[in-house]
């Protein structure tokens, strides 16, 4: 018969009484110096083992036992070794968790979160996308953009050509093309959720012909058709939430340090979405009357336009390197020549 020493607390005061535990007839017997208490095993609650520390047994009527010998208690109650405790206590086995953890986090970031965010994107109604776009455009107009100086005939011509491109590409959205003077944004075009596209005067001036501008619009269409605006927001938010969820009780370093890696991680998502838009542009241009070759042409022109600044490494930018983007079009381009 196994005897275990324990400490008995009656739950009404902080007094501690020495006790001895045995199992008799499937009941737990607690032998105090002057009394004997007996409990059915079903009535007591034994706390799960954590490491090698003493274990607690909750008794009815608010009393409790503290048992120093965790192993002994496990034997006394004929407990099976929990796989969790086994894993936690074997340091080499636990150390294996480190690479697995790193891989799991990497996989979650690279594939898991984008998948979840992309799956959640259709839940966002188009009306919300349009609302987001309105707010963003208002903000941009307030801060950086000015009314366009592109002559109305040119704007109309581009809009008509764009309408044709939409038909040929099989667009699902109602698009709206607006022009603005870019100011600090320079030669640029961007897509807002819900179909609002904006093109800057500087980009119109930079292009050699309307086809090149249509190629850019095809890329921007890709952002809208594949709901990149919403997906991007969901992915970035998801990252922030995931970090908060798993490190819920870690406040050692604080938000400041996590901010930089988080921003870099978000940029990767942005580059993925840009590549996706490039693919869409390639496919839709191939189907249309506009040659895909115009896209690498305008890319090259844009890149030359921005030259003079330092070469920003790939992992720091929101867009993939221009060379890489142009290479995707090389094949299709030589075909349609």
């Amino acid at each position: 018969m196994i005897h275990l020493t324990a400490i008995y607390y009656d739950g009404r005061s902080s007094a501690a009484w020495p006790a001895e535990l045995v199992i008799e007839h499937d009941r737990l017997v607690v032998k105090l110096s002057e009394t004997r208490l007996s409990y059915a095993l079903a009535d007591i609650r034994v706390a799960p083992a954590v490491g090698r520390m003493p274990r607690r047994i909750d008794l009815p009527h608010g009393a409790a036992l503290e048992v120093a010998d965790g192993q002994g208690l496990a034997q006394l109650l004929a407990e099976k070794t929990s796989w969790l405790v086994y894993w936690e206590s074997r340091l080499r086995l636990a150390a294996l968790a480190v690479p697995v953890l790193c891989f799991a986090i990497w996989a979650g970031y690279r594939w898991g979160l984008p998948l979840l965010a992309d799956a959640a994107a259709p839940l966002v109604p188009v009306a919300t996308e349009r609302w987001l776009a309105e707010q963003t455009l208002a903000l941009l107009d307030e801060r950086w953009l000015h009314p366009s100086r592109v002559p109305p005939e040119r704007q109309l011509r581009l809009r008509n050509a764009f309408a044709r491109l939409q038909r040929e590409a099989g667009a699902h959205y109602d698009y709206r093309l607006d022009f603005r003077r870019g100011g600090p944004l320079g030669a640029n075009a961007f897509a807002l959720p819900g179909g609002q596209l904006v093109m800057t005067d500087e980009l119109v001036a930079l292009a050699r012909n309307d086809m090149e501008l249509l190629a850019v619009l095809a890329h921007e269409m890709g952002h809208v058709e594949h709901r990149h605006g919403v997906k991007g927001i969901l992915r970035s938010s998801g990252l922030g939430i995931a970090v908060a969820m798993t490190t819920g009780d870690v406040s050692a370093i604080g938000g400041g340090l996590a901010g930089v890696p988080l921003a870099l991680a978000e940029l990767r998502y942005s580059r993925d979405l840009e590549r996706d838009a490039d693919d869409f542009a390639l496919q839709s241009l191939t189907r249309s009357a506009v040659s895909p070759c115009h896209f690498p042409a305008i890319l090259e022109r844009l890149s030359a336009n921005h030259k003079g600044g330092p070469e920003i490494p790939d992992w720091m930018t929101s867009h993939p390197q221009t060379r890489e983007r142009m290479q995707r079009f090389d094949q299709a381009c030589s075909k349609k020549r």
Binding site: G11, S14, A16, L91, G240, I241, A242, T246, G248, S251
Partner: protein
């Protein structure tokens, strides 16, 4: 070891003859004061296994298991803290914690998404959070303390949300209006609110007013941090000057300037972190030394120099290990604090009695955790 004597009656009353006066002016010698030191039995290697396995499971279950992980982690620290032969215990229920986390997620998600597109809305949510903080803080403390026990008597927090509003909204606003000069006083009042509403069984903690400590602490801490910055800048200027004298050109100078700027930015983190943590720990030290729990007093012997070494070590260990040293950091920090804390008890520690029990929901704690509300005692 636990006491070998115990009362002969079962109702747990304090042992007779603990030094009360019988109403006559006779000299009764004060009972001997026992020094009961805390002791931490955990180890970094043991905790690492628990920590990493539970972290992996949390990640693999997309965070659902994290509630169980939290309970295990807390139980490890509480259960390895010993005082007078008995251990502390954490009774948190994983399901209740999970519910709290899901609610926190429901609150956090719109804030995160909105802040991407709408800085104004994000600001609004922060304001709402600030207004809700008294409720969150009270719930968190009630939960945390109710689920902590020592010798099977529960701790408790009896502060009300109404009072918390005064200490966590009204006073901070006043503090801000004073251009920050009143902020140490505000924090001191908050700490008194927390301590004086904490209970162990039927007994109440008492913290006396000690505003002087707060102001001297803050002044010294701010002074020390500014001194550290100044020394840092001086050193960088010196190096830059030497470089200039040695004939480095303008390009090299520009790179050095940018590099120095980045270096200062990165060094500001340990300076603030270590400075802030040391200050808070020192204040806690002073609070414990002055506070009481009925007749029990506390002796906290932490020293500023040792705290600075501790927190500096923690900071760089975490950085260079990319966070893997967290188990070691936690164990090391708690061990230091417990090694330097003791209870001074006239008579025995078995004289405390239980209060009437109450069931508390977990909602507050997890929500407060996420929004970084720090209410460490």
């Amino acid at each position: 070891m636990y006491q070998t004597e115990f009362p002969s009656h079962q109702d747990g009353a304090a042992p007779a003859g603990a030094g009360g006066y019988a109403g006559e002016a006779e000299f009764v010698p004060a009972p001997a004061v026992h020094t009961l030191p805390f002791k931490f039995h955990g180890s970094a290697s043991e905790y690492f296994g628990i920590w990493i396995v539970n972290l992996l499971l949390s990640v693999l279950t997309l965070g659902i298991y994290s509630a169980w992980a939290k309970v295990r982690n807390q139980r490890y620290f509480y259960g390895n803290t010993e005082l007078a032969g008995s251990r502390f215990e954490y009774h948190g229920q994983p399901l209740a914690i999970l519910k709290g986390r899901l609610i926190a997620l429901a609150l956090l998600a719109p804030y995160t998404i909105l802040s991407q597109t709408h800085p104004a809305a994000a600001l609004g949510s922060l304001l709402l959070l600030f207004l809700a903080s008294p409720w969150l803080i009270v719930r968190t403390l009630r939960f945390r303390m109710h689920y902590t026990s020592y010798r099977n008597l529960r701790f408790a927090f009896v502060g009300t949300t109404g009072k918390a509003f005064k200490y966590f909204i009204a006073l901070p606003v006043l503090g801000l209006l004073s251009l920050g000069l009143a902020l140490p006083w505000v924090q001191h009042e908050q700490r008194r609110f927390l301590m004086n509403n904490a209970r162990y069984g039927q007994s109440a903690f008492q913290m006396p007013a000690m505003i002087g400590k707060w102001y001297s602490g803050y002044l010294i801490a701010v002074g020390a941090m500014m001194a550290a910055f100044t020394l840092l800048m001086l050193a960088l200027v010196l190096i830059g000057g030497l470089g200039y004298l040695a004939g480095f050109g303008k390009d090299a100078g520009l790179i050095y300037l940018i590099g120095a700027g980045v270096f200062v930015y990165f060094m500001s983190l340990p300076i603030y972190a270590v400075g802030g943590q040391t200050l808070l720990a020192w204040l806690a030290n002073e609070v414990w030394n002055a506070s009481r729990l009925d007749e029990a007093r506390f002796a906290s012997t932490m020293r500023v120099s040792e705290l600075i070494k501790l927190y500096l070590g923690n900071f760089f260990a975490l950085i260079f290990s990319l966070g893997l040293a967290l188990p070691w950091v936690r164990v090391r920090t708690l061990r230091y604090r417990l090694d330097h804390l003791a209870v001074l008890m006239p008579g025995g520690i078995e004289g405390f009695n239980a209060a009437v029990a109450k069931q508390e929901a977990a909602t507050g704690e997890e929500v407060a955790d996420f929004f970084d509300i720090d209410i460490a005692l």
